[in-house]
Subunit: 180 residues, 2 copies
């Protein structure tokens, strides 16, 4: 997997933040030339495909400052340091939707933006959903929960309210489940 | 779409690079409190699902410095300033694989990491593929082209050589095409 390896000649730390770090790497290319690479380090994230007994998917609407608008997404959150992704997925599902689940099946994992960032998202399918009473949101978290049918989800994609990789993947996964 | 809007109180420019910019925004939350948001601005990207007459998908292996390893991905590249995404997709397909196409159908677009970045990827399905003679790679670009069957693609996912959002989405899209 080291094909075309770019060796680090020098790394400059530009920013170390609460969520992301930014580094500027000087690298030597396979042809011996040098180039610069702008690199974001991110702790990784989890996301949950949760479909209720009424065949509705749980979605959350929240504001995304990077886009200056809100998006409708599957429940998700970044990994806390040292946290097991499965535990993180259970926690985010409960915090953001008020639902618990009996089991979580791993569906896939993917890097979201390998061109500049190392964010890896683990996607789980939650089974045996059960609605608890209260939501447990972080102090700075403002989300509204939705339960939508497959057709409603397709409309949300058409309206570009669902507009992110993990959620569009999740709806496509749901389509495949329906065809089984 | 301005639900739960976070108003910008102050923006600090941390870094302006060749590909990404990093800003640190102080925002006012819906409850009146303030918080900080780490924001990456990215020009956006295109990616191409290209399946040959022999029912093989075109993939490229390249080194990803952010991951310190190579990945196998569908042909893709970032948008040049002011460039039409469709033209960009044609250009990247030709540059990275040596193939041209008769037409491009838009499949979907998605934000890759809405939690911290505004990178939007446009995904096209290339039709009427034709192999040209030469590859036209950028000077700093080292890729190897692969043509793989659906079953080989599934194995590449299992081996985590295919491991990024757009390519895993593309293989799932191919699965749906096969079921039509």
């Amino acid at each position: 997997m080291k094909k075309f390896e770019e060796k680090t000649l020098n790394r400059k730390t530009i920013f170390e933040g609460r969520i992301i770090n930014l580094y500027l790497d000087e690298v030597s290319l396979p042809n011996g030339k040098t180039s610069m690479r702008e690199i974001i380090k991110h702790p990784g994230a989890v996301a949950v495909i949760a479909i209720t007994e009424e065949d509705k998917i749980l979605l959350v609407e929240q504001y995304r400052k990077a886009l200056e608008r809100s998006l409708v997404e599957i429940p998700a959150g970044k990994l806390e340091k040292g946290e097991d992704p499965r535990e993180s997925a259970k926690r985010e599902l409960k915090e953001e939707t008020g639902y618990t689940c009996e089991s979580l099946e791993q569906v896939t994992s993917f890097y979201t933006s390998p061109g500049f960032a190392n964010e890896l998202v683990h996607i789980y399918h939650a089974k045996g959903l059960k609605k608890e009473k209260e939501l447990h949101l972080d102090e700075d978290e403002f989300v509204s929960v939705m339960e939508v049918t497959y057709e409603e989800a397709l409309n949300l994609i058409k309206e570009q309210k669902i507009y992110d990789a993990k959620t569009i993947y999740a709806i496509q996964y749901w389509q495949l489940l329906k065809q089984q």
